[in-house]
């Protein structure tokens, strides 16, 4: 092999490790931001680390993080699910209303009903997106309104009040071990399993492949429609599950439950390092994104900033995250070009 060959080969080796490292840093970076944020807030307002406050932040983050798991599966395949907030609302109402309708209904059945409702919504989203080939963004924008409409027409002006729920059910959202709510631990386990599955099973890797290069995915024979359909179905089921948890946590469910959650979830996913055009990111990262957003919302309150500023901060964080990603990508391209050049014959 000539010296030119060796040089060419070197060119492909070293800069790549840099890319890998940087992308990994991007994902872990969110944890650093989170720690810094907590440290700063605690420095100003020590009560921020109070047990009650930590519990509230975690519970709040739990629902967003769970939704973010489903959303991550959809977003890595270069789609989007905007209906999760409406699905959560519908599931929260129908499942909690069951306690009034059917006396003594077992709690697991309520969970199954909630998940079933979500799954049904997800199947509709997935079928239209995957098989009728309508962009998922548009499909779920439509179902966002449709499902909310169904929700409102079922509920009318009524609501489920906390007192009508059995104590066991309300306890799901409040019992905790050493300050960490049980439900948070359960969701953390679900997210860990989800993250691992996306990484370690063919179906999971194929979602990344579809998002990374849809045309190539078609050429290698990945069942794109089936995978995208499944991603939407699972995202729906997860939103249904989140709805039941939401009901147990808040107790009072009316027709506005979960309104606007979809945008917060998408924000959490992107802030957590999932590429908005698919192919990259993890559910764990998205969960940390949700935790960061939830922490910031509470921190602002603790610092005496008006909660009206909360959405503005979410937006700011989103812009920062995307600008950072873009900046990293451009800078990296520059560095790699220079390095490649230096190694070339």
């Amino acid at each position: 092999m000539s010296s030119q060959d060796t040089a060419l080969i070197q060119a492909s080796g070293s800069p790549q490790r840099l890319v890998d490292t940087v992308f990994r840093l991007r994902e872990y970076g969110i944890i650093v931001v989170l720690i810094v944020f907590i440290a700063v807030t605690t420095g100003i307002q020590p009560r921020f680390l109070g047990q009650q406050n930590i519990k509230f932040v975690l519970l709040n983050a739990t629902i967003y993080a769970l939704l973010a798991l489903g959303e991550t599966m959809v977003v890595v395949s270069r789609q989007m699910d905007l209906s999760v907030g409406s699905v959560l609302g519908l599931s929260a109402y129908v499942s909690s209303d069951l306690f009034g309708q059917v006396h003594g209904i077992p709690i697991p059945v309520v969970f199954l009903v909630g998940i079933g409702i979500g799954l049904a919504c997800g199947v509709v989203n997935g079928a239209i997106t995957a098989f009728a080939r309508v962009p998922g963004l548009v499909v779920t924008l439509a179902t966002l309104y449709i499902i909310r409409g169904v929700d409102i027409s079922i509920i009318g002006g009524g609501e489920v009040v906390a007192s009508s729920l059995p104590a066991h059910f309300s306890a799901i959202g409040s019992d905790s071990v050493v300050g960490v709510p049980y439900i948070t631990i359960c969701v953390a386990i679900i997210i860990a399993i989800g993250t691992y599955s996306l990484r370690s099973f063919r179906a999971g890797r194929e979602l990344y492949a579809i998002g990374s290069n849809p045309e190539a995915a078609r050429l290698v024979g990945i069942p794109i429609a089936r995978r995208v359909f499944s991603a939407y179905a699972i995202s729906g089921a997860i939103a249904g599950l989140a709805g039941v948890i939401w009901a147990s946590f808040y107790g009072t469910v009316d027709s506005t439950a979960g309104t606007g959650y979809e945008l917060t979830v998408v924000t959490a996913v992107v802030v957590g390092g999932v590429a908005i055009f698919g192919g990259r990111g993890s559910a764990a990262g998205a969960a940390f994104g949700a935790l960061l957003l939830s922490t910031i919302a509470t921190a602002l309150y603790a610092l005496g900033v008006s909660p009206f500023w909360d959405p503005a901060f979410d937006g700011l964080l989103l812009v920062l995250a995307i600008t950072l990603d873009r900046g990293i990508a451009l800078r990296l391209a520059e560095v790699m070009r220079k390095r490649t050049f230096r190694h070339e014959p």
């Binding site: 190539a216 024979g221 990945i222 070009r337 050049f341 230096r342």
Partner: protein, 558 residues
């Protein structure tokens, strides 16, 4: 290896053959390893491995394939040539299982097959390396190779360790180094192809189809690819090699099939054929390749580039282009040619040096300034950078001339259409409707469209990066004549970048050769030859005439 009717001293292929012969030692070992590892799929039936007979395929009213025939032999590299639209890509997609033929018969290893999906094609032992690299930039090299058929361990989980080890073995067989765990983003086109070949090997494919694998490779990378193809062929693999570059077909193939208008024209051994035979069969008429006359009237300096540098990309580049002159920059891909062009036009900022057009200095990093000074830029990738594919043909043509077509601050449709129709007819653009999208045009006509856009501004300097990449033979000649006429009759200064040596030889009044971000040599039309360009571009020969000394004071090492 057959060199056909071409004089052996006419091309760099003799050089590359020497390099290959020298490399045969490790090649032999590799061959043995591959054969040992080949299970059932690699088994070779006595008959031809692949026969496609009378295949047809229509998309609506378009008959993409009317009579597709191909027959491969074991241990042969089989060329498939034809103009754009001849049906080559459709035929490839049938073999890949992407399209199902409407009629016809396909025999693989003597058995009749229906390839109803990419998986069926793979299972039949066919590996297709597609024209548009089918790379997943966010996945690792190993995942790219094994996508959809990853080795599994307990619980149906992907076995990343085995996957990485298998790739490492294959990559070593090929004599290249490629980390299986790195993500594919940032891989050169050449490395992406190696990855695709690794995929074919991991499949134990007995039939490998390569759709224009060399289109985006530098000469050196083509050599490396050919070494690998030749290695596979010696092992008995049947390779179908599709290329627009006839020289390559003569260099590497034993037999060739020519297609025209969706039909099989002939299949012949290359021995005894010359390039003109193929060209005639492809176009169905004689193409007279007029060689460029050394230029007529060279006028004043239009473009003056002095000591242009961009850190880590190119260093101290100085040259000028005169009115009516065509200057070609040759060199390996990655030698900084396109980057110099981009810096002149202002897409990239320059770190040092100056650029002036007709004595007017251009600001760094300002394409607007360059356009105002009368510079037109036809980029390498016309689909992504040169055209708005989803916009009408007439609007694409008018895109750079909005200031001329404005009345009372508005762009008038009638003015725009008239302007576009005028330029379309001047360039003999072949189109359905001017209001149809640019994507409806063939590659050659798309290139004319980009040219029309800039010619509409009466540019004094036209920068063209790879003017005929992926364009069929007849349109290619037309684009060449067009550029020559622009220079000769309109006095336009043309700065052209080309990787195709015949094009460089034909077009350049002067040829500049870049190597490692510096100007390595300059040749006049009478001095230039393929050997001299290759020597200067690779730095193998240091006493070529016209060589620019690079050790002048003030030069920074890259």
């Amino acid at each position: 290896m057959t060199v056909g009717g071409l004089p052996p001293d006419n091309s760099p292929s003799s050089l590359q053959r020497v390099a290959y012969e020298g490399n045969r030692g490790p090649g032999g070992a590799v061959q043995q390893a591959v054969l040992d590892g080949a299970p059932g799929l690699g088994e070779k039936a006595p008959g031809p491995p692949l026969i496609l007979e009378h295949a047809t395929k229509s998309f609506g009213a378009v008959h993409a394939l009317v009579d597709g025939n191909i027959e491969l032999h074991w241990g042969e590299t089989h060329g498939l040539v034809g103009e754009n639209g001849a049906g080559k890509s459709t035929l490839v997609k049938i073999l890949a299982g992407v399209h199902m033929p409407d009629s016809g018969r396909l025999l693989v290893n003597g058995r009749e097959m229906r390839l109803d999906g990419p998986a069926a094609s793979r299972a039949a032992g066919i590996a297709v390396i597609h024209q548009e690299a089918s790379v997943f930039p966010d996945l690792s090299v190993a995942e790219n190779v094994f996508i959809g058929r990853e080795p599994l361990r307990s619980g149906r989980r992907i076995d990343f360790k085995t996957m990485n080890e298998e790739i490492a073995v294959i990559v070593e067989r090929l004599g290249v180094r490629l980390d299986p765990r790195r993500i594919a983003k940032g891989l050169s086109v050449a490395d992406q192809q190696i990855m695709e070949i690794a995929k074919a090997l991991s499949l134990n494919a007995s039939i490998i189809v390569m759709d224009e694998p060399t289109a985006a490779l530098s000469a050196h990378e083509v050599d490396r690819l050919f070494e690998i193809v030749e290695l596979l062929r010696r092992e008995g693999t049947a390779v179908l090699f599709i290329s627009h570059r006839l020289q390559e077909v003569f260099d590497i193939c034993q037999r060739v099939t020519v297609m025209r208008d969706g039909r099989h024209v002939f299949t012949k051994p290359l021995a005894g054929l010359v390039a003109d035979d193929l060209v005639q069969a492809m176009v169905g008429r004689e193409v007279v390749d007029r060689s460029a006359g050394a230029s007529q009237q060279i006028g004043d300096v239009v473009l003056a580039v002095e000591h242009l540098s961009r850190e880590g990309v190119f260093t101290d580049v100085s040259f000028s282009v005169h009115s009516g002159e065509i200057v070609v920059i040759a060199g390996l891909v990655g030698s900084g040619r396109s980057e110099v062009a981009r810096a002149i036009f202002g897409i990239d900022r320059r770190d040092a040096g100056s650029v002036s057009v007709k004595g007017r200095p251009l600001r760094s990093g300002s394409p607007t300034d360059a356009i105002a000074a009368g510079v037109g830029f036809v980029p390498e990738d016309r689909r992504q950078q040169g055209l708005v594919m989803a916009m009408a043909i007439d609007r694409n043509i008018a895109l750079a001339s909005h200031d001329h077509l404005k009345r009372k601050g508005l762009i008038w449709g009638a003015l725009e259409r008239g302007f576009a129709a005028d330029w379309a007819s001047r360039l003999r653009l072949k189109y359905g409707k001017l209001s149809g999208n640019a994507s409806t045009l063939s590659g050659g006509n798309q290139q004319k469209l980009v040219l029309a856009k800039w010619l509409g501004r009466n540019p004094s300097l036209l920068i063209i990066d790879e003017p005929t990449r992926g364009i069929d033979v007849a349109t290619k000649a037309e684009v060449h004549r067009l550029l020559e006429r622009l220079a000769a009759e309109e006095g336009v200064a043309i700065l052209m970048i080309s990787s195709e040596l015949p094009e460089v030889l034909r077009m350049g009044n002067r040829t500049l050769v870049m190597r490692e971000g510096r100007l390595a040599a300059e040749f006049s039309h009478s001095e230039v030859s393929e050997e001299r360009i290759v020597a200067a571009a690779t730095g193998q020969i240091h006493d070529a005439p016209g060589l620019v000394t690079t050790d002048a004071p003030g030069h920074r090492a890259p």
